[in-house]
């Protein structure tokens, strides 16, 4: 009996336990280049059907992590399982399951036309949907008769995005997908990805440092900082646990240092503004006990929440 390719047989599965329902799962994944550590002990968990935003500052290791998932590089330590397949043992099959938009703008043979480049891709991906490609090209205004060497950065990125979607993969790995795009093209690409998501129910793992771009789609967030995954949670969880507190303290009130999870402190006279990660009731109780009066508690938008987490990661 043949199995659907999106479900790996037990033999092919990595011995990472408790990963049912995960499109991507890594355990203690680490990568070193000589003496420098690019990634350390990454335990990434991307649920099937999720839109997972991997945020992090430049050089945090986002692109390296995506390349490890595709077995384009070998990890120094740890394991990665992608769509139920061990990435190190089934690299080719993993790549067949994935639509990947790489960080760079290299499209290989620069003498080719975009149409020829797509035709080559169609051979590598037996499920390539030429009709879908034509539709995407129209929407993204891609001229398939144009030579790759004559494409601008934005046009290359649009072409790469079409190629990633064309075989309707169960997992999209997007590395800075909007890099090089003008605002109009950026909106169109996000629309396309959104449509693709609703049509296919695929999983998306997108790395970016422009958080606001994926705001409308994201339901899972991970923050990479200096090669470490410093936060990973559902968006709702982020909303629940990361809040901004407006506090009024008595004259000369010393901010209580024993309150855990404070990511940001600002003071304007007797008004204090904190961003704290933790249970709201606990945080309010802590502040009240130390003499402060919580005037207002507000949830943060995705951008602010992730930026605070990134700063915390960088500081730690």
């Amino acid at each position: 009996m043949t199995m659907p390719s999106s479900i790996a047989s037990p033999r092919e599965r990595d011995p990472v336990d408790g990963d049912a329902g995960l499109a991507v799962a890594t355990r203690a994944l680490s990568k070193r280049y000589g003496r420098s550590t690019a990634l350390k002990d990454i335990d990434l968990r991307v649920p099937e059907g999720a839109v997972y935003m991997l945020a992090g500052e430049n050089g945090a290791g986002k692109s390296t992590l995506l390349r490890l998932l595709l077995n384009l590089e070998r990890p120094t330590r740890g394991q990665a399982e992608v769509t139920g397949l061990a990435a190190d043992r089934h690299g080719a099959r993993v790549r067949a399951h994935v639509g990947y938009v790489p960080e760079g703008f290299d499209m290989g043979s620069r003498w080719m036309t975009v149409g020829r480049w797509f035709a080559e891709r169609a051979i590598y991906y037996p499920n390539w949907d030429a009709g879908y490609v034509a539709t995407l090209c129209r929407r993204l205004d891609i001229d398939v008769a144009r030579r790759i060497s004559h494409l601008s950065k934005g046009q290359v990125r649009r072409t790469q995005i079409v190629a990633a979607l064309a075989h309707r993969p169960p997992l999209l790995l997007l590395d800075e997908p909007s890099d090089g795009l003008d605002p109009a093209a950026r909106d169109t690409v996000l629309e396309l990805i959104s449509d693709h998501l609703s049509q296919t129910g695929c999983t998306i793992l997108a790395s970016t440092h422009l958080i606001y771009e994926l705001d409308a789609l994201v339901d899972q967030v991970g923050v990479l900082s200096h090669g470490r995954l410093t936060a990973q949670m559902p968006r709702d969880g982020l909303r629940e646990t990361l809040k901004s507190y407006r506090i009024r303290g008595p004259q000369g009130w010393e901010t209580a240092s024993d309150i855990p999870g404070v990511l940001h402190r600002a003071q304007f006279g007797r008004e204090h503004s904190w961003v704290v990660r933790g249970d709201e009731a606990d945080v309010v109780a802590h502040i009240t006990r130390s003499g402060g009066e919580v005037r207002d508690v507000a949830t943060l938008n995705l951008h602010d929440a992730v930026v605070h987490l990134m700063r915390q990661g960088a500081a730690s």
Partner: protein, 240 residues
């Protein structure tokens, strides 16, 4: 829903056919150049034949020129593929080592096809002129193809093994020439002799040697060496 779609790597045959076509497009300038050189040659030869005063022997120099071209061919074929970087070639859903070997095979078809065409052309001209051809034995017709295949394998092994194969090759060749010219290092004479004109040397592979048996043994040795070198070189790109 895409989960019901099978997402499998492509068949090796399909990838092979793709590379066969792609290499043809890569080599288009060289093919045009070759046609431009060979067409006037053939026309001139035909003109001489018409005037019936031609002696058009098969040029034995081809037995050296063709392997040299075959050795250099992989440098041309892989020059844009960024084998050691994060190029587009690596992103494809084919096991990297297998992918490389498929492309090497496609290149071999081109190398052998072109060599066969050139050998055939000059032999046909020689036949038409009543001049000596490459030889009377079938094996003698296979000599240039054997040397081309071997040279192509050795060139491919270098390109697949080294990040900067051209620099390494040119550097080694230059070092050899300089060391020899200035008598800085005396390479052991028996060694160089064995390598060039010995029973298992390059000469029998290129020229056919004294007999078909001598040629076959030398060819087997060098062809095996090429295959082994390529297999080892490709290990650098294995995934698992």
């Amino acid at each position: 829903m895409n989960k019901k779609i099978r997402h499998e790597p492509p068949r090796a045959v399909a990838v092979f056919q793709l590379h066969l076509g792609k290499i043809g497009r890569i080599l288009r300038p060289e093919l045009i150049g070759l046609a431009l050189i060979l067409s006037p040659t053939a026309l001139m030869a035909l003109g001489l034949l018409m005037s019936r005063d031609a002696a058009l022997d098969y040029p034995q120099e081809l037995n050296f020129l063709l392997p040299v071209g075959a050795f250099l061919l992989p440098f041309r074929l892989w020059s844009k593929e960024r084998l050691f970087d994060r190029g587009d070639f690596h992103l494809m859903p084919v096991e990297r080592r297998k992918h490389i070997l498929i492309r090497v095979c496609a290149g071999a078809v081109w190398a052998l096809g072109l060599a066969a065409a050139v050998v055939l052309l000059f032999n046909l001209l020689a036949l038409a002129a009543g001049s000596p051809t490459i030889g009377t034995g079938v094996w003698q017709w296979l000599v240039p193809l054997g040397s081309v295949a071997t040279a192509y394998l050795l060139g491919s092994a270098l390109v697949v093994a080294l990040r900067h194969p051209l620099r390494w090759s040119a550097g080694l060749a230059l070092a050899f020439v300089l060391l020899t010219a200035f008598d800085l290092v005396a390479f052991p004479r028996p060694m160089t002799q064995a390598l060039v004109s010995g029973d298992l040397g390059l000469e029998p592979v290129l020229t056919g040697g004294a007999s078909s048996a001598a040629w076959a043994v030398a060819l087997l040795f060098w062809f095996g060496l090429g295959l082994t070198a390529l297999a080892l070189a490709s290990l650098r790109h294995r995934e698992a």
